[in-house]
C-alpha cells in the first residue's frame, strides 16, 4: 500500500507513464498527418484556421505533457508563457504596422 501511493505520487510529479507518453505521441502523429493532408486535400476556407489550430494543439501538448508543464509548479509555466506571449504580442504588432504602412 505504501509502495503504490509512492509510485502514484511519482507519476503525478513526473508526468505520465510510458503508455501515456506513447498515446500522446500517437495523437501528435495523427495531427501531423492531418496537417500534411491539407497539402493534398482542399480544405477551402478552413485551411488557414485549421492549420493554425492544429499547430497550437501540438505545441501545447508537447509543452504540457512531454515538458511536464501541466504537472509542474506554476512558476515554470509563468516564466515560459510570459516569454511566449510577449513574443507573439510584439511581433504580431510589428508585422501589423507593416500592413498599416502600405
Amino acid at each position: 500500500m505504501n509502495t503504490t501511493s509512492a509510485t502514484d505520487s511519482h507519476a503525478t510529479e513526473h508526468g505520465l507513464s510510458t503508455i501515456g507518453y506513447v498515446r500522446i505521441a500517437l495523437i501528435l502523429a495523427a495531427i501531423t498527418g492531418l496537417e500534411v493532408s491539407t497539402y493534398y486535400v482542399d480544405f477551402g476556407r478552413l485551411f488557414l484556421p485549421a492549420l493554425l489550430i492544429m499547430m497550437v494543439i501540438k505545441f501545447v501538448m508537447v509543452v504540457s505533457y512531454f515538458m511536464h508543464l501541466k504537472f509542474d509548479n506554476k512558476v515554470f509555466s509563468w516564466l515560459f508563457y510570459t516569454g511566449l506571449f510577449l513574443a507573439v504580442g510584439v511581433y504580431c504588432a510589428a508585422l501589423a504596422t507593416f500592413k498599416f504602412f502600405g
Binding site: V75, T82, G83, L86, G89, V90, A93, A94, A96, T97, F98, F100, F101
Partner: protein, 665 residues
C-alpha cells in the same frame, strides 16, 4: 584601481571559518584554482562581491572612455567650423560615445551593484549560478574591449547607436567598425542574458526564510524587473544583430531597400529591444534612490507597494511603446496614434514613483549626505527629462523635435540626470559597505554640485538649440546660419561645451575622492547611515560568506526593525545597536559553510567568444579555433562540480547534513 583594494575590515573576530578548498582535479587533468591571494583570486573568482566590484571597475573605465568621447564632441562643436574632428571621426565619436555609455557603462555599473547587493539584500551567500556570474562578467569585459578594438583596426562604428540602415551598410560604413560593433554587442548581450537568468533565479529562489516578495528591498525589486526586461529584450536585438552581420558578411540583403527589403524591419527590432532598454538603464537608479531616500529621511519609503507595482507596470507597458521612436518614419496614422497613446500612458507609473519619493521626503528628518543630494538631484533632473519626454509622445510635436538637439537634451536629462546621478548616489551610500571606508563628504558635495551644474549647463541649452533646429549628429555649424540674440546658436553651443568641462571636473573630483579615501579615508562604522535593509547586517566589507547565519526575515526593512521597536506610545525606540544585531547572527553561526569554488572555465569560455568573432571578421580558421576554445570551455565546465567535493576541503568537511548536490551552475 583603488576599487579592488580592500581595506582592513572591522569585523568582530569571526566565530567560524570557511573551510578552504584545496585543489583537486576537475577534469582528470587540470586542478581547480583555489588561490585566495594575488591576481588569480580575481581572475578565477566566482564570488558575487568580487565580481560586482570587477563589473563596477570595468564600467568606471568605460565611463571615462565614453566621457572623453563626449568631451571631444563638445570641443568640436564649441566654436564655428570646428576642426578637432573630421566628419568621419565625428560620426565614430558619437556612435561610440553612446554605445559605450549605454552598454559599457550604465548597464555594467547597474549589473555591478546588482551582483554585489542582491545576494546581501535577500540574505543569501551568493547567486544561484556563481560560475555563470563569472562568465557574464568576462563576456561583458571582452565584448567591450572587442568593440573598442575597432578604433585601432581601421575605424570604429559610425552609424549612430541605433545603427539604422542604410548607414549600417557597406556603402556608408566601409570599415570593419560596424562588424566590431555588431559582434561586440552580441557578446555583451550574451553576458546580459546569462546575468539576467542568474539574477532572476537568485531573487526567486535564494531568499532568506521569511523574505517574502513583498518584503524585499526596493532595489532588489527594481533589479528583478530590469532582469526580466533584459531576459526578454536581449534576444530581440540578438536577432537584429545577426541579420545585420549576415548582411554585411554573407551577402544577405535584409535591410537593403534596393533589393526590395524593408528598412523598417531593423527599426522595429531595434526599438522593441530599445525601449525596454531605456528602462533597463533607469530602473536600477530608481531602485538605488528608493533605498537612499528613506534612510536619509528617517522614515519608511512612502507607499512601498505602489513603488513596486509601478516599477512592474513600467516594465510591462514598456513593451508596448517602442514605435514612438519611429513616428517620423512613415509608420502610418493608425500605428502612430496607438503608440502615441500608449506612450503617454507610461508616464503615469513614472509619475507615481516621483510622487512617492516626494512624499517620502515630506515630513522626514532630512539628512543631506552626498548620497541624499544625488538622489534629490535625480528626482529633479529626471522630472525635467520626463516632461520633455512627454512632449515627444505627442506625435506632431515629435515630428518637429526628432533628430534635433532637443532629443539630445531630453535623453541626457533622463540618462545623466536620472541614471548616472542615481548610480553616484549608490556609490556614496554603499561605499562604506563595499570598502569599509567612508567617501569624503565634503569632496562629495563638490563632486555633486559640479556634476549638477555641469550637467545643466551642458544639456539645458540643448533644448534651445534643438527647438531652433540644430540637428543632432551635426559635425560642424557655421556662423552665418547661427541666428541672432538670445537664440544665437553659437552662444548656446559654447555654453554647452563649457558645461561639459565642468562635468569633467565633477567626475574628476569623484576619482580624487576615491583616491583620498583609499589612502586615508575614515574607517566606516558598522552602520554609518542608520540603514534599513539586510545588506547592512554584516561587516564592512562583508564577510566572504556574507552572513554567519542566515537571518530570518519578519519585516520589510528587517534591519531597521531589529534595531527599533514601538514603545507604548507608538513611538519608534532604539532597542538594539547594529553591533548587537550583528553579534546575534555571529553567535548563531552555521557550523559549516561551503562557498562555491573558483573555476578556470568561465574566463576561458568567455575568451572564446571574441576570438571567434575576430575570426568571423578576418579569417575563418581563427573562428574555428575560437569555436574550439568555446567547446573546451563548455566541456570543462560541464564536468566540473560547481563546489569542490567534500574531500577537497581542508580540513575535509564532515559531510554533515548541510550538503546538497544539486548545483549545475
Amino acid at each position: 584601481m583603488a576599487i579592488i583594494e580592500r581595506p582592513v575590515s572591522l569585523e568582530v573576530q569571526p566565530l567560524i571559518v570557511v573551510a578552504p578548498a584545496t585543489p583537486s582535479s576537475a577534469m582528470g587533468a587540470v586542478k581547480r584554482p583555489v588561490v585566495t591571494k594575488g591576481w588569480r583570486q580575481w581572475v578565477f573568482t566566482v564570488d558575487h562581491k568580487k565580481l560586482g566590484l570587477m563589473y563596477m571597475a570595468t564600467a568606471m573605465f568605460f565611463f571615462l572612455v565614453g566621457g572623453i568621447e563626449a568631451v571631444l564632441i563638445r570641443l568640436q562643436l564649441a566654436l564655428p567650423d570646428g576642426k578637432i574632428l573630421n566628419a568621419d571621426l565625428y560620426n565614430q565619436m558619437f556612435t561610440m560615445h553612446a554605445t559605450t555609455m549605454v552598454f559599457l557603462f550604465v548597464m555594467p555599473m547597474a549589473a555591478g551593484f546588482a551582483n554585489y547587493f542582491i545576494p546581501l539584500q535577500i540574505g543569501a551567500r551568493d547567486v544561484a549560478f556563481p560560475r555563470i556570474n563569472a562568465f557574464g562578467f568576462w563576456a561583458l569585459l571582452f565584448g567591450g574591449l572587442f568593440i573598442n578594438l575597432s578604433w585601432f583596426l581601421g575605424g570604429a562604428a559610425d552609424g549612430g547607436w541605433f545603427m539604422y540602415a542604410p548607414n549600417s551598410g557597406p556603402i556608408f560604413s566601409p570599415s570593419h567598425g560596424v562588424d566590431f560593433w555588431t559582434f561586440g554587442l552580441q557578446i555583451a548581450g550574451i553576458a546580459s542574458l546569462t546575468g539576467a537568468i542568474n539574477l532572476i533565479v537568485t531573487v526567486l529562489n535564494m531568499r532568506a526564510p521569511g523574505m517574502k516578495l513583498m518584503r524585499m528591498p526596493i532595489f532588489t525589486w527594481m533589479i528583478l524587473v530590469v532582469q526580466f526586461l533584459l531576459a526578454f529584450a536581449v534576444p530581440v536585438i540578438t536577432v537584429a544583430l545577426f541579420l545585420l552581420s549576415f548582411q554585411r558578411n554573407f551577402g544577405a540583403t535584409f535591410f537593403d531597400v534596393a533589393a526590395g527589403a524593408d528598412p523598417l524591419l531593423w527599426q522595429h527590432l531595434f526599438w522593441i529591444f530599445g525601449h525596454p532598454e531605456v528602462y533597463i538603464l533607469i530602473l536600477p537608479s530608481f531602485g538605488i534612490i528608493s533605498e537612499v531616500l528613506p534612510v536619509f529621511s528617517r522614515k519608511p519609503l512612502f507607499g512601498y507597494p505602489f513603488v513596486v507595482f509601478s516599477g512592474a507596470a513600467i516594465g510591462f507597458v514598456g513593451w508596448g511603446v517602442w514605435a514612438h521612436h519611429m513616428f517620423a518614419s512613415g509608420l502610418g496614422p493608425v500605428s502612430v496614434a496607438v503608440f502615441s497613446i500608449s506612450t503617454m500612458a507610461i508616464a503615469v507609473p513614472t509619475g507615481v514613483k516621483i510622487v512617492n519619493w516626494t512624499l517620502t521626503l515630506w515630513g522626514g528628518k532630512l539628512w543631506f549626505t552626498t548620497a541624499m543630494k544625488f538622489s534629490i538631484g535625480l528626482i529633479v533632473l529626471f522630472t525635467i527629462g520626463g516632461l520633455s519626454g512627454v512632449t515627444h509622445a505627442v506625435a506632431p510635436s515629435d515630428t518637429q523635435q526628432t533628430d534635433t538637439y532637443y532629443i539630445v537634451a531630453h535623453f541626457h536629462y533622463v540618462l545623466f540626470g536620472g541614471a548616472v546621478l542615481g548610480l553616484f548616489s549608490g556609490f556614496y551610500y554603499w561605499w562604506p559597505k563595499m570598502f569599509g571606508k567612508m567617501l569624503n563628504e565634503k569632496l562629495g558635495t563638490w563632486n555633486f554640485w559640479f556634476m549638477v551644474v555641469g550637467m545643466n549647463l551642458t544639456f539645458g541649452p540643448m533644448h534651445i538649440l534643438g527647438l531652433q533646429g540644430q540637428p543632432r549628429r551635426m559635425y560642424q555649424w557655421t556662423e552665418n546660419r547661427a541666428g541672432e540674440g538670445f537664440f544665437n546658436l553659437g552662444f548656446w553651443n559654447l555654453i554647452a561645451s563649457i558645461g561639459s568641462l565642468v562635468l569633467v571636473v565633477g567626475v574628476f573630483l569623484f576619482l580624487v575622492n576615491i583616491y583620498i579615501t583609499a589612502r586615508n579615508g575614515k574607517v566606516a562604522p558598522l552602520d554609518p547611515w542608520g540603514a534599513r535593509s539586510l545588506e547592512w547586517m554584516t561587516s564592512n566589507p562583508p564577510k566572504e560568506h556574507n552572513f554567519d547565519s542566515i537571518p530570518t526575515v519578519h519585516h520589510l526593512d528587517e534591519f531597521f526593525h531589529r534595531k527599533y521597536a514601538e514603545d507604548a506610545n507608538g513611538q519608534m525606540q532604539q532597542v538594539a545597536t547594529a553591533e548587537q544585531v550583528l553579534k546575534q547572527l555571529e553567535d548563531n553561526a552555521d557550523a559549516h559553510i561551503h562557498m562555491p569554488s573558483p573555476s578556470y572555465w568561465p574566463i576561458i569560455l568567455a575568451f572564446g567568444l571574441p576570438v571567434t568573432c575576430l575570426g568571423l571578421i578576418y579569417s575563418i580558421p581563427l573562428a574555428i579555433f575560437g569555436g574550439l576554445i568555446i567547446l573546451m570551455g563548455t566541456f570543462g565546465w560541464a564536468l566540473e562540480p560547481s563546489t569542490a567535493p567534500d574531500s577537497d576541503f581542508d580540513p575535509p568537511s564532515s559531510g554533515d547534513t548541510s550538503k546538497d548536490v544539486v548545483h549545475v551552475g
